[in-house]
């Protein structure tokens, strides 16, 4: 009886976080591109992924992530970009889940840096596969460089949220 109640509560929290991630994602879609580079985004929705990973389990974080990617692709101007999102998102999540135990709550930002870099590596790998050319690799260094910065920023934001809300939300 009690565990069922907990599940409903948890489900509501996961749903709420998914909605939040989706809103952030859609807002970011409407913002102008920071550079004319395929795949270069601030990745603000990553704030939710990092928060979820350090609060719930990797499986539950994956639920939020994939729900956001699938729902988000409906709002994106280019629905075929979902393949890049899934590839990048999966590598980012798997990497951060494996590294999570090495980071304290005060170094969440560093975990997020790895996540952001892996996200871009995953996206680029999908692009190489889909485009059948290695030309896209030329963008990888610049994408990783800016992913380190944006990953640190989104990670710091997530860290701030987690430290301020000691309870699980």
């Amino acid at each position: 009886m009690k565990s069922k109640k907990m599940n409903a509560k948890k489900l509501a929290r996961l749903g709420l976080l998914t909605a939040l991630a989706l809103i952030i994602y859609i807002v970011e879609l409407r913002l102008p591109d920071i550079a004319p580079i395929p795949g270069m985004k601030l990745g603000l929705a990553n704030i939710v992924t990092v928060c979820a990973l350090f609060t719930f389990s990797p499986k539950e974080t994956a639920l939020i992530l994939y729900a956001r990617i699938i729902l988000g692709s409906i709002f994106a101007s280019n629905p075929s970009a979902i393949l890049y999102s899934i590839s990048g998102g999966t590598l980012c999540l798997v990497g951060m889940a494996l590294l999570r135990k090495h980071f304290s709550k005060k170094s969440i930002w560093l975990c997020s840096v790895y996540g952001a870099a892996l996200h871009n590596i995953g996206q680029t790998a999908a692009a190489v596969f889909i485009m059948r050319t290695t030309a896209v690799l030329a963008y990888l260094p610049i994408l990783i460089f800016f992913a380190c910065i944006s990953g640190a920023l989104t990670g710091l934001t997530a860290q701030f949220i987690i430290l301020r809300t000691n309870k699980k939300y």
Binding site: P38, N78, M131
Partner: protein, 120 residues
């Protein structure tokens, strides 16, 4: 504790190295003479913009069109049927970064042998 330090140093190294490579690709890399245009993995043109007449090249992919312009020995994407127009915003091809239209699977890049071997 020790792993955390290693992970910090590794991230810092990745940040610095990717920055240095980016600067090289953007500003320092010598420009090869030939340019390769690839659609959906297949090479359509290998040309030398410096020796080309000013002209437009239209490439179609699944009914969507990209118009490439060669002008004064330089190349850029003039028009594109893609949703994001990133390829147009990239501007002229004048550094180590290729012009890429992901939705229409079109690539305009400098030809430097590396791509030759990889295209296989």
């Amino acid at each position: 504790m020790k792993t955390k330090r290693i992970l910090f140093i590794l991230a810092a190294a990745v940040f610095l190295i990717s920055g240095i490579i980016s600067v090289y690709l953007l500003f320092l890399r010598p420009k090869p003479e030939k340019v390769r245009i690839t659609s959906d993995g297949e090479t359509l043109y290998v040309l030398e913009p410096a020796r080309e007449e000013d002209r437009l090249i239209t490439v179609e992919y699944e009914g969507r069109e990209n118009v490439i312009e060669i002008k004064d020995g330089r190349v850029h994407m003039l028009k594109a049927d893609c949703p994001d127009h990133i390829c147009i915003e990239t501007g002229w091809l004048d550094n180590g970064l290729p012009i890429i239209c992901l939705p229409n699977r079109l690539v305009i890049e400098y030809e430097d042998g590396r791509t030759d071997a990889a295209a296989g």
